[in-house]
């Protein structure tokens, strides 16, 4: 039995030590916001926070996450929306949305490390892949969230 601290709750899971964290989250804890895209740490759809650091959960054996604080998209902002999520709505970032939770987790971790990221910081950190091509809006939304210029989205307003 492994003890996992996910989104502030302790879960005891009976899984192989080498099972990637992604599959424990998705198939054993039913947390489906974290996505599978490539399985080899290239696309970032599986990004979660482990002790505050953005990690590609498809390639992290679950045993190495035991005893650490794991945060998924479901736990990113326990009360209301995270400012990154607000900015994402304000700038209408997602299209199909599949990669977006990983994108949001990467962006949130970036802001923790660099509260005012430059374009170069974004280029370097945001290596998540998006097939729909939301990149221009991702960049705008990160800057907006960093500058605190994002207003809560008002439904029905353009």
């Amino acid at each position: 039995m492994l003890e996992l601290n996910v989104n502030g709750r302790i879960h005891r899971v009976d899984v192989e030590a080498e099972m990637p964290l992604l599959w424990v989250l998705r198939d054993h804890l039913n947390l489906h916001g974290t996505k599978y895209g490539c399985g080899i740490s290239l696309c970032g759809a599986c990004t979660v926070h482990v002790d505050g650091v953005a990690v590609r959960s498809c390639s992290l054996p679950v045993a190495r996450a035991a005893g650490k604080k794991i945060v998924t998209i479901e736990g990113l902002s326990p009360r209301g929306l995270h400012r990154i999520q607000e900015a994402w709505i304000e700038h209408q970032v997602p299209q199909c949305g599949y990669c977006q939770t990983g994108m949001i987790m990467s962006a949130a971790a970036l802001l923790e490390k660099k509260p005012l990221p430059t374009d170069a910081d974004i280029d370097e950190t945001m290596s998540n892949l998006c097939r729909c091509g939301t990149y221009a809006r991702v960049r705008k939304a990160i800057h907006a969230a960093a500058g605190g210029t994002t207003k809560p989205a008002a439904p029905g307003k353009a």
Binding site: H32, C99, C132, G133, Y135
Partner: protein
């Protein structure tokens, strides 16, 4: 209100709304109606709750392109309800069949989602509005002409009374639908035509489970699948001894063309799959390669008896007397769709004999038909739950291979839901690829540099033939010849020959099928302009009539991009105009190429005339999307064939652009009205030639084959 009452209303409205007689039904209904109590179906598209919430049924799929929101906007526009009360849900394919295909088409491809639905969804909104006002007038016993509606509130000014839609929906549903309705002029739109926030985004930023991969059912098992790496191959022998003993493994399913492992988690299923010892019967295709495919296409180009996709005048005679003759050969590789969500299908053979399927599909009705056929069940005993798609781009429409597999696997575990998901490797190697093609173009200019003749020969696998879709002359696949066979330029002598050479690699509708022809044509036109010593814009405008819509977008993009003004230092421009999918599109690309030959696409300006624009912000998002999707295919994407199989297996050898490569995109929407064009694909059409023409401006090198990884861009 009881479910019984609501069901009667539903039947009445469905019979009246043109579907003919709806059969008695018991299961299932769309969730809004099934939720019972507080909801009334005014007609098939519009469900209104007593608290005024409006649910719009969406028959097309949502794969990121925004149709879900745009169609809801069109219905809400004519319904004249309060947009803040509007939500949407997918129409049920099972109910669609039972109600005599009441929602029109469920197919979502060809940028048709809005343009081919707009007429009937707007009429449904208008019909519902008419019935709601009539219901209020009946209750008040006043003439309809004295009633007005605004944002879902019906008012009778003379008596200063008001009723909300939610208060009269049940009565409205019992009325006869109007025989004819008039639709609002786009100039008077209040909800449509505005950049309203998308309805699907709030859930998507929270990671709420909406995709096919997120389906979770009590007792559900997971499956991973291996198909013969050589297309068309079969399973010859299987040794599953090691896999069977692995933790969580429930069953190994061996079929003619694939093997699947069912386990209690996907990772366990996939780990066990890797331990299977499968011997494949590769069939006749084990020796196919890039070289054999190129030889097949070249043989096609040399065929003296090709069918003609276009013939105007006499191209060969005119070429013989032309002052200047230019020839060029262009080519493109196979391309995988690489949707971020791999192909996925969950199926559950219920103990009562009903089959439920959950999948990411671009055509719910096709998925239903394929599931029923695979299961051997009548359509009425199958339901397909349309999930949000993690990208589609044409992969999830025609083939439905993943539904056949998902249902086949679940059949081996009757009573238990099984979710089958492909690994990325499986997805990369078992696509329905954008066809590889080779094109030879020969053009003649007269002494004044005018294009007088063009003879084009196209060798390209046929998507329609592969998918078994017949449309017109079977020897010509319009998706393989378009843009060359329907060139808008006034060229007096034109001939286009088509060599259908299919090969063994599955081909399918890849975002804007036939878009490679836009690359060929517009790069070649650029070569001709250079040979004629003319500016690329002037050369094209000289061949386009005064009010030609290609001309209008070409002029619009030239103006917006500053064509004819000096670009920033080190920056070079290219231009192209290519129309399709109901719209007209032109692009200016600005690129720089370093001394080391490194390309940077700096800025893309794209002008699109789609007739009408339902959600301008979403249309801009689609233009941005087309830039990134196209950019990957220009820079580095290709699927190579060796030993009968696809060489590439994941994103390390089939790269996708990252944020750092994203150029600045400026979208110029120039809707001229009078027609309805699409937005999901047109933006990609002029992209490739505009960028390649800009590379020529920067380096003096013509890019006649893609991707660019095969070219040295250092200035010679």
């Amino acid at each position: 209100m009881s479910l019984r009452l609501s069901r009667r209303q539903f039947l009445k409205a469905s019979a009246a709304a043109g579907g003919g007689l709806a059969l008695e039904f018991s299961f299932p209904m769309c969730s809004s109606a099934a939720a019972g109590g507080a909801a009334t179906e005014v007609n098939a598209w519009v469900v209104i709750h007593t608290d005024d919430r409006v649910v719009v049924r969406i028959a097309r799929s949502e794969m990121g392109q925004g149709t879900y929101t745009a169609l809801a906007q069109l219905v809400a526009e004519e319904l004249d309800c309060d947009w803040t009360n509007v939500s949407a849900e997918f129409a049920s394919p099972n109910e669609h069949i039972r109600r005599n295909r009441i929602w029109g088409s469920m197919s979502t491809g060809g940028s048709q989602g809005v343009r081919s639905s707009q007429d009937y969804v707007r009429k449904a909104g208008a019909a519902a509005r008419t019935m709601l006002i009539q219901a209020a007038a009946n209750r008040w016993k006043v003439p309809v002409s004295e009633c007005r509606v605004d944002k879902g509130v019906i008012s009778h000014r003379p008596s200063q009374r008001t009723l909300r839609y939610g208060q009269v929906a049940a009565e409205a549903a019992r009325l006869e639908p109007p025989k004819a309705v008039s639709l609002r002029d786009a100039g008077n739109w209040k909800i449509a035509g505005r950049p309203l926030p998308r309805l699907d985004i709030p859930d998507k930023v929270l990671g709420k489970p909406v995709f096919a991969v997120d389906v979770a059912l009590p007792g559900m098992l997971h499956a991973s699948i291996a198909q013969c790496p050589v297309f068309g191959g079969k399973v010859k022998s299987l040794n599953a001894d090691a896999a069977q003993k692995m933790r969580g493994v429930k069953k190994i399913v061996r079929e003619e063309r694939f093997v699947a492992v069912i386990a209690d988690s996907w990772w366990r299923a996939n780990e066990a799959l890797k331990q299977l010892k499968i011997e494949w019967d590769e069939g006749a295709n084990g020796n196919a390669s890039n070289e054999t495919i190129a030889a097949m296409l070249r043989e096609g180009l040399a065929d003296p008896n090709l069918p003609q996709a276009r013939k105007i005048g006499n191209a060969d005679t005119a070429l013989a007397s032309a002052a200047t003759v230019i020839e060029a050969e262009y080519q493109s590789p196979y391309l995988n769709h690489a949707t971020m969500e791999p192909q996925t299908c969950t199926a559950w053979f219920r103990p009562d004999g009903f089959l439920e399927v959950w999948t990411s599909t671009q055509n719910g009705e096709a998925s239903l038909a394929v599931a029923a056929r695979t299961a051997g069940l009548p359509l009425e005993q199958v339901e397909v739950h349309k999930m949000m798609l993690g990208g589609g781009f044409g992969r999830r429409g025609g083939p439905q291979d993943f539904v056949i597999q998902g249902v086949t696997i679940a059949k081996a575990m009757r009573g238990t839901p099984v979710k089958m998901m492909w690994s990325r490797e499986e997805d990369m190697q078992h696509g329905y690829y954008r066809p590889a093609s080779v094109v030879k173009m020969k053009a003649g200019l007269d002494a004044q540099g005018r294009l007088i003749a063009m003879h084009t020969r196209i060798a390209c696998p046929s998507i329609l033939a592969y998918l078994g879709i017949s449309r017109g002359d079977a020897s010509i696949d319009f998706t393989a010849v378009r843009t060359l066979s329907d060139m808008p330029y006034a060229v007096p002598h034109q001939q286009v020959d088509y060599a259908m050479r299919n090969g063994h690699v599955p081909v399918g509708f890849w975002r804007a099928p036939g878009q490679q022809n836009g690359y060929y044509r517009e790069c070649f036109i650029d070569e001709l302009a250079a040979a004629a010593g003319k500016d690329p814009v002037e050369f094209r405008l000289g061949m386009l009539a005064e009010n030609d819509k290609d001309r209008l977008v070409l002029e619009a993009v030239s103006k917006a991009a500053g064509w004819g003004t000096p670009p920033p230092p080190g920056v070079h421009r290219g231009i192209a105009v290519v129309s399709g999918f109901g719209s007209y599109a032109a692009t200016v690309a600005e690129v720089s190429v370093s001394a080391k030959g490194e390309l940077k696409v700096q800025r893309i300006v794209v002008a699109i005339d789609s007739g009408y624009v339902v959600n301008p912000d979403n249309c801009r998002a689609q233009a941005e999307s087309n830039v990134v999707y196209g950019l990957g295919s220009i820079l580095y994407q290709e699927n190579n064939v060796k030993d009968g199989r696809i060489v590439e297996s994941n994103f390390h050898d089939f790269r996708l652009p990252q944020i750092a490569e994203m150029p600045k995109v400026e979208t110029v929407l120039v809707p001229t009205g009078g027609f309805w064009g699409g937005h999901g694909e047109p933006g990609i059409l002029p992209l490739t030639p505009a960028i390649c023409n800009a590379i020529y401006a920067a380096t003096g090198k013509r890019i006649r084959a893609l991707p660019l990884t095969h070219h040295d861009l250092r200035r010679a």
